[in-house]
């Protein structure tokens, strides 16, 4: 138990250090991009794209844990699936908050119904639905299984976000694998990789802490049930 706590603390501290270094690198060493990319506003990119990647990562964890739960029900798998869905929503919100602000500078509008943006919004809404379903539809086995199925299905939208630009076009450039977006300077690519690393650590910290939180919540439910059976439960 103590070793787990130490591991978590180390991970959280490492995440904070990598983020601090990443922010310093982005603002002190990375040059501003061309005006077509928003000039100085392009520095949003180094958190915007890694946040989208962290949403993929959380979605993937949610999918695996949900599929594992559907195969064999367990409290840990359910908690992990729920935690990952919650984190996917948070990372999706980061993408949806940062993207439109950058778009206003680079494209001239906050929002346009281009394929990647539309599918990203749909994916976020799927994970919001998973979280709401788990939060408000009760804690019965049927509800948990339905939420797990939705968690698996939500993941199938993720590749569409990634390949939307090459399949259907739009205003986004293909940066990853396509060499677009004007990442010509080596420091720009380093800042992006650093962002990916920082967001991977952050996703791990958040999923871990949320899983632990949901574990505590389940433990409270069990204790309340025991207390009710023993006649000492006062509610609350």
């Amino acid at each position: 138990m103590q070793r787990t706590q130490l591991g978590f603390t180390l991970l959280a501290v490492s995440t904070a250090v990598v983020f601090a270094f990443s922010i310093g690198f982005i603002f002190l060493h990375t040059p501003a991009a061309q005006m077509a990319a928003g000039g100085l506003a392009q520095k949003i990119f180094y958190f915007h794209v890694p946040a989208a990647y962290a949403m993929y990562l959380s979605g993937l964890v949610c999918c695996i844990a949900s599929a594992a739960y559907l195969l064999s029900e367990s409290e840990t798998r359910n908690a992990l699936a729920q935690a990952a869905a919650e984190c996917a929503v948070v990372f999706g919100c980061l993408v949806m908050v940062s993207g439109p602000l950058w778009a206003k500078k680079a494209w001239g509008v906050y929002w346009t119904w281009e394929p990647r943006l539309t599918i990203s919004l749909l994916t976020l809404l799927v994970y919001v639905a998973v979280v709401l379903l788990r939060g408000f539809a009760g804690s019965g086995e049927a509800e948990k299984r339905f939420a797990a199925a939705l968690g698996v299905l939500g993941t199938f939208t993720l590749p569409f976000i990634h390949f939307a630009v090459s399949w259907w076009g739009g205003n986004h450039p293909t940066v990853i694998g396509g060499g677009g977006g004007g990442l010509a300077h080596p420091a720009m690519r380093q800042a992006l990789y650093l962002g990916f690393f920082a967001m991977t650590l952050l996703a791990a910290v958040l999923i871990w802490s949320r899983t632990r939180l949901l574990g505590l919540s389940a433990r409270v439910e069990r204790l309340e049930h025991r207390a009710a059976t023993a006649g000492v439960y006062e509610g609350g």
Partner: protein, 102 residues
């Protein structure tokens, strides 16, 4: 942003590159969009008037606010649950002791 600044490797957009005799800016933007290598502004959208600095600061403030709010509310809930567990375990322990005495 100074023109020719080594820290601005992409400061000169491809459409304005002197060595590239070719289509005018609008047509170039269209072709860039078709090979998906550049950012493409939405046609007819106003391009001036948005401060890059303001947008950048706003984006970072909003992102960190969302993240810290998530962490803070999680931490608060965890503390509440820990207190509840302690309370319930104490009550259950007392009830078991009473049952043994009887």
């Amino acid at each position: 942003m100074k023109e020719g600044d080594p820290l601005q490797p992409n400061a000169v957009p491809s459409a304005a590159a002197p060595a590239a005799p070719g289509p005018p800016a609008a047509a170039s933007a269209h072709s860039a969009a078709s090979d998906h290598s550049e950012f493409t502004a939405v046609r007819g959208a106003p391009q001036a008037g948005t401060s890059a600095e303001l947008v950048l600061v706003l984006a970072y403030i909003l992102m960190w606010t969302v993240l810290l709010a998530f962490v803070y509310f999680g931490f608060r809930r965890q503390r509440r649950l820990a207190q509840r567990i302690e309370h319930l375990e104490h009550a259950l322990g007392a009830a078991e002791q009473d049952a043994r005495k009887e």
